[in-house]
């Protein structure tokens, strides 16, 4: 069975201990292959530490060297400073570089992640069904996510709410309110949480993710594989929904 992972990071981070990191693309691919992953969505942490262009260029150039089916995630910042490709230029460059999604890290890049500031990129992404990753472990707060989704309710996005505690009361309203929001399973820690979400919303709303290298790369696989759901539903979570999202964007 194919398995994709929508929550992968690699790169040096001088403020973290080395055992918490996966420093190179080569090392990432080694871990992915050992876990039996087919591919996944990858971001370079250097986007947050060195600079947004450096990291975006790095992931674009390094995923090309892998024999796994890797898609890059690019970090975006407000267009007002003209640092990154404009919303008009972005889709073509994403297609050229196999970039499957965009994300924001307002904590690292020090900007306001509010609808009025990010309107141009999010309007473009909304129209073209380009996935936006909202991962609270990547420097965006759940309140920011809530405000952005209220302003762009049809946005195609993947939500990962990083929490030490089970968090159904926070996650499930997002699934209920926003039709194109997918939940990353990386932080779905609740016992029987997968079964509960599928019973309520169907299998089309979950995407397998690990949160590697902060978390173990294979640790959520048994949660899906051994869930009390059908094989078809497992396939949707482990690869079908991911493939649909990556290939569903209009990047022309």
């Amino acid at each position: 069975m194919k398995v994709y992972d929508c929550n992968l990071t690699y790169g040096f981070n001088v403020s973290k201990r080395s055992h918490e990191l996966c420093e190179t693309m080569e090392e990432l691919c080694k871990h992915m292959k050992n876990a039996g992953l087919t591919g996944g969505l990858v971001r370079a942490v250097s986007s947050d530490t060195v600079g947004v262009n450096f990291g975006n260029d790095q992931v674009a150039s390094e995923i090309k060297n892998s024999d796994l089916d890797l898609w890059g995630a690019w970090s975006i910042v407000p267009s007002i400073t003209n640092e990154i490709p404009s919303p008009e230029e972005m889709p073509k460059l994403m297609a050229k570089n196999k970039i499957g999604a965009l994300y924001m890290n307002p904590e690292a890049h020090r900007f306001l992640a509010i609808p009025s500031v990010m309107k141009d990129y999010l309007t473009m992404a909304d129209k073209r069904k380009i996935p936006i990753v909202f991962n609270t472990a990547w420097g965006i707060s759940i309140n920011d996510v809530s405000n952005l989704m209220e302003a762009f309710p049809t946005l195609t996005c993947i939500l990962a709410y990083h929490s030490l505690w089970p968090n159904a009361r926070t996650n499930l309203p997002f699934l209920s309110l926003y039709p194109n929001l997918y939940l990353d399973t990386s932080y779905m820690l609740d016992d029987q949480g997968i079964e509960y979400v599928i019973g309520k919303f169907g299998a089309d709303k979950l995407i397998h993710g690990s949160g590697f290298p902060e978390l173990y790369i294979g640790q959520q696989m048994p949660v899906v594989k051994c869930a009390d759901i059908s094989d078809k539903e497992k396939e949707a979570i482990l690869h079908g929904n991911f493939e649909k999202l990556m290939k569903g964007a209009d990047l022309k």
Binding site: Q192, E195, L215, C226
Partner: protein, 274 residues
Amino acid sequence: MINNKSELAQNLWNTGSMGCPILDFHGHMHEYSAIYFPASSPEGMLKTMDRANVRMLMYCSHLALYDPTDDKKYHVDVVKKYPDRFRAYHSVLSRYTDPEKAIREVEEYPDVYLGFKFLCDYYAVPLSSPVHDPFFKYLNDTKKICLIHTWGGSPYNGVDEIRKVVEKYPDVTYICGHSFFGDENHAFDVFKDAKNVYFELTAVPLMRGFVERIVQHIGSERMLFGTDLPWFSTFHGIGTVLSADITDEDRKNIFYKTGDKLLSRYSWYTPIDK
């Protein structure tokens, strides 16, 4: 396949079962104010336990940890209904202690209770407080087990608090829930040679590399599997142990062998590795 280097992982991926039993030493039960649980009843939890091959869960109900009126009613009926699947830790509510009553109940129901659960962080009472002395004296005399919620940097159940109690009551078997999350290196130094201090894995999955470091510094012979069920999926804990860079022998120790030896002191327990 989770981990190409582990036969247990491949078994699970290919057949849905590792072919290895599990003893879970850290569970709860019933609803809890801060979390929604899809399945917090004994029957709901048994569904997960059956699928994951969890032979027995050692638990302390949320009710018993927050409602000081009656520990028995939250534990005795459940364990008597499912004697092969559950055993209880009697709660120690540090601000409402009645050691005489609690010890009497543990003695009255030896087939229900395996010892006591301490949750000092939540009550803001240090583990070494004199209010806990009668419980530790009893545990020391009877060689029963206690589960302690431990957390790095806590003034109530951090490394230094546990050390004080371990030095005072050296014959108690201590299960350190959460393995001093966040201050584990300090704990490794302090408890390296304390053979009666066990490291339990609930919350450990949230930090990659933690499992390997406990194996390296303490040894899998002093590690116990735990999940906080119904908080965290048992399969999340299984995935963590299967993903860690350790041997399948270490994994078997964590999943059941260490626990099997610990529980063998109780007359009600039939060892798996008999």
